[in-house]
Symmetry: C2
Subunit: 153 residues, 2 copies
């Protein structure tokens, strides 16, 4: 990856590799095709200043919805890697950017989040993103351990 040597390095976390994979998978219009890894990950960073400049209410566009889905799909893939069982995300997002996302393993819901302000989806930094992801993945894997029968069902 010659291009990344000239840019700030991406966090050394397997979640980033999965995010790149999922972001490419959800890129139905090829928006990211000519971008390097760093450029692909940049839209996930929304600094405090950027957030302050965004409208409180706004309709999320398709690229943003694609990023949100890539994020939760990457979480599902890491949960799957962690427990060896299929993890499936499911989304319900309104045009106004409200909704719910779950990730299920068997009959067990291992992640369940209300979505709001989807149009402002992003993280203060990629390190923070990885930190949050690690927490969510750990919590999900703990649920699989706690309710193994439902997760197997």
């Amino acid at each position: 990856m010659t291009e990344t040597t000239e840019k700030p390095a991406l966090p050394d976390n397997p979640f980033i590799a999965e995010m790149l994979r999922q972001t490419r998978a959800f890129d139905s219009y090829g928006v990211n095709e000519d971008l390097n890894q760093f450029e692909i990950m940049q839209p996930y960073v929304v600094t405090k200043e950027q957030r302050r400049d965004m409208p409180i209410i706004g309709d999320p566009d398709e690229e943003l919805i694609a990023r949100l889905k890539a994020y939760y799909s990457a979480l599902a893939m890491r949960i799957e890697a962690g427990c060896g069982k299929m993890a499936t995300p499911m989304f319900n997002i309104s045009h106004e950017g409200f909704g719910r996302v779950i990730i299920s393993v068997g009959k067990l819901i291992v992640l369940d989040r209300s979505l709001r302000d989807v149009h402002r989806f992003g993280f203060p930094s990629l390190d923070k993103m990885c930190e949050e992801a690690d927490k969510l993945i750990t919590a999900a894997l703990k649920l699989v351990e706690t309710y193994p029968d439902a997760a197997e069902a």
Copy 2:
């Protein structure tokens, strides 16, 4: 209910009362306001002949989506009544009428169905609708019994 005495009777099943309630709840445009109970339930009946005349592929309209949501919400309410724990439906339906619906109790998925051909949603008769509903409710309640801890979580 004077009006129903002149019409064919509705099935004597608590699911019908819940269907009427949910259909009214999802009736955002007041389409059903002046209808009697029998008229409200009629669009749920799609006979073999009607189904044959429908296009194989078609975009479901909003009223049909409302009926589909009313049906699964009524199932959730009957599951809730049966186990005394909150049951929540979640929908993911594409514009093309494909998708998935789940009903969860706690962290347990008690109903999980792929949706397709949503534009042809309906039942051969209201009795058949109640029969199918009873089966789905029984199966869901059995899952709550089998995995009580996940359902409590």
